[in-house]
């Protein structure tokens, strides 16, 4: 049995506060990488902020906001190779952007348009998983199956603090431990599951304390610190690649935006804490770090933001230019060899629609 250390207590941090806590750095990350990471953060941030606007304008449907979750998403993915797979929850709906997925694809998903449904194998990004925690066993099975085939592919799955209460989390983590699957279980602990606070979700001292129950290390990291997230994930990925099995990462943050566009958190959330969190949001933190380090200039910041905005502008135009979906698509893709009844149904529908 491999040795398992108790979960870490404190939160790992790299980025300083420009005052008492000094900036650290991550070995192996040069200016190019740091800039690339920053660009990813900005891309996600811009996607998120614009999506909220598009929703208000009625151009996309209900939308699950991930504002201030960008450091976890970008930092986690930055530790992967292209051949590694990502298994997102709905909170990471735009994670494909980091793999070159067109903006219009993700927007189309939120527009309820078929062009929002992609081929996971094209981006090594699984479909958005709407039911909480159920993607975890998928990631584990994928990682286990890849290792069985002798393929060097790691799987990383994102999920929330609430997700750790689901049986699916438990069963997935159990399989991961037993199969020594090369998988990273990445928990975004934003302290809320819609309106349910972490204290009503679990009595565990920390979520990372769950890891030992599956025989895997549990790491705790500041979820607003993209470098700390990257570093922790890189460690986990290295373990996975070395055949040492899964790692549980608890990235700690606080949800500073509504759960989704339909939600009004003012009924339940700690608004003061939200203000603090907003002040300290993750993109700005990294930006200031890079400015301090001289890797970034104000001008470059502006440029990168404009690039991202431009991508969004094109993306929404493309998404809106998609031709209306053919109702006949209702009958496509459910089966490779559909039962004959479906053809009759389609014919009937076409007749009724007068087509």
């Amino acid at each position: 049995m491999s040795q398992v250390l108790p979960a870490e207590g404190g939160l790992r941090r790299v980025i300083g506060d420009g005052e008492s806590f000094p900036d650290g750095e991550v070995e192996g990350l040069g200016p190019d990488e740091l800039l690339a990471l920053y660009r990813n953060l900005v891309l996600l941030r811009t996607y998120d902020e614009r999506s909220v606007v598009y929703h208000r304008q009625g151009r996309i449907g209900t939308y699950a906001i991930f504002w201030n979750h960008e450091a976890m998403q970008a930092g986690g993915v930055f530790a992967l190779e292209e051949r590694d797979w990502i298994f997102p929850a709905y909170r990471e709906s735009a994670i494909g952007l980091l793999r070159g997925m067109p903006v219009s694809t993700v927007l189309s998903w939120w527009r309820g348009h078929p062009s929002g449904w992609w081929n996971p194998a094209e981006f090594n990004v699984a479909s958005i998983c709407v039911p909480i925690a159920t993607q975890i066993p998928h990631a584990v099975g994928f990682a286990w199956g890849s290792a069985l085939k002798g393929e060097d592919r790691v799987a990383l799955t994102f999920f929330g603090d609430g997700a750790t209460s689901e049986g699916s989390f438990h069963e997935g983590a159990t399989f991961a431990g037993v199969m020594k699957a090369p998988v990273v279980l990445f928990c975004n602990n934003n302290h809320w599951a819609i309106s349910t606070p972490l204290s009503a979700q679990t009595a565990a001292p920390t979520l990372a304390d769950k890891a030992i129950g599956y025989g895997m290390p549990g790491i705790r990291v500041d979820g607003g610190d993209v470098l700390a997230v990257y570093q922790a994930t890189r460690e986990a990925v290295a373990r996975a690649r070395a055949g040492e099995g899964p790692t549980f990462i608890e990235a700690v943050t606080y949800r500073a935006a509504p759960h989704a566009t339909a939600d009004d958190p003012s009924i339940y959330i700690d608004l003061e804490r939200v203000e603090v969190e907003k002040e300290n949001e993750c993109v700005g933190r990294f930006e200031r770090y890079l400015l301090r380090a001289g890797v970034l200039t104000e001008a470059r910041v502006e440029e990168i933001k404009q690039e991202a905005l431009e991508l969004m502008r094109t993306g929404i135009v493309e998404a809106e230019a998609e031709p209306p979906a053919d109702p006949g698509l209702v009958f496509e893709h459910a089966y490779a060899n559909p039962p004959p009844a479906l053809a009759d149904d389609l014919a009937e529908l076409r007749r009724v629609l007068g087509e």
Binding site: V130, A193, P324, A325, V330
Partner: protein
């Protein structure tokens, strides 16, 4: 009486029943602090305290499983499943325990729990917020199922469910949560399980429906006014099923179209058709037609209207039937 939306009638029923019986409690994800994602449980936590309107961990099997234990301790839990498709993790507890435990005690213990959930499509929602899972529930022995289509019934059926000694599942048609509006009796109001309602009288065809399909059937009946006299039967209760009303209506009209959102195969419309094929075969002047969702995943919302039964599809079925 006062005018309420359907979801408000649900909220009203919960207030009345929690007030009336101190052993009733509400539990589920986000039912307390938030008052439910549809606000169906709004105000309960403030009025009855956090112990009787419990925000649970995110764990549906845990919700239903602990509810079984709560019954054994003398409570009558009303469990909210946040959405139809998120109730599936609890099916194991439903089938193996909720539906069987009374039997297991040879009738000595009751399990008077209620499961209520918003269900159904047509609301332009992301994936898996649109299912109509009633078959999974109604097929399960020991479990009763009711589905209201009006605010008054939403209140009355939920009250009946809460008072019933057996486990009852109430599916609330979320499509009409805030469009169905109507008079709802104040205070205690109970609509007995097992009684269908003739929503519209007619003589040529019976449209059998429940939930959000009832107003749809009514619209179809209206659209057909010049061609056929349609009776609309709102089943209200799937189990126990009011076979008498069903047979009486079809006995009169001789024709039946059954409308259901759920995928067709083994949907409840099949059960209705099977009852008719057994007990009304000589009354039938033509085939029993089913207008249903299809045997495919509920689609992305831009084309969901093509999946959902529509006035056009119901009208087409009625016309086909009358042309035979």
């Amino acid at each position: 009486m006062s005018e309420r939306f359907l979801v408000e009638a649900v909220n009203d029923a919960l207030h009345v029943e929690l007030e009336r019986d101190p052993t009733v409690l509400v539990m589920g994800e986000d039912v307390g602090r938030l008052g439910g994602v549809f606000r169906a449980t709004a105000g309960l936590r403030e009025r009855f305290g956090a112990d009787r309107c419990v925000d649970t961990p995110l764990a549906e099997a845990g919700i239903l499983g602990t509810a079984v234990g709560l019954c054994m301790a003398g409570w009558r839990p009303v469990c909210e499943m946040q959405y139809d498709a998120f109730s599936y993790p609890a099916l194991d507890q439903l089938i193996n325990h909720v539906g069987r435990y009374r039997w297991r005690t040879r009738g000595k213990m009751s399990f008077p729990l209620v499961i209520r959930m918003p269900y159904g499509g047509g609301v332009r929602a992301p994936e898996l917020h649109d299912d109509s899972p009633e078959t999974y529930y109604v097929h399960t022995p020991g479990v009763k199922v009711a589905i209201p289509s009006t605010p008054a019934d939403a209140k009355g059926l939920l009250a009946a469910a809460i008072r019933d000694p057996d486990p009852v599942v109430i599916f609330e048609p979320k499509l009409i949560y805030r469009t169905a509006r109507g008079e709802v009796p104040e205070g205690e109001h109970v609509v007995p399980l097992g009684e269908a309602r003739v929503a519209r009288e007619g003589s040529d065809v019976t449209l059998v429906a429940y939930g959000a399909m009832v107003p749809l059937a009514e619209r179809a009946a209206e659209a057909l006014e010049d061609e056929a006299s349609c009776e609309v039967l709102d089943l209200r209760s799937l189990k126990p099923l009011d076979e008498d009303s069903l047979l009486a209506s079809v006995g009169k009209t001789g024709r039946a179209v059954v409308v259901q959102e759920a995928p067709r195969v083994c949907g409840f419309a099949a059960e209705v058709a099977a009852v008719l094929a057994e007990k009304a075969i000589f009354d039938l002047r033509g085939p029993v037609l089913r207008v249903t969702g299809y045997d495919v995943p509920y689609p992305y919302w831009q084309i969901e209207d093509a999946y959902m039964p529509s006035v056009e599809r119901v009208r087409d079925a009625v016309r086909r039937l009358l042309s035979i």
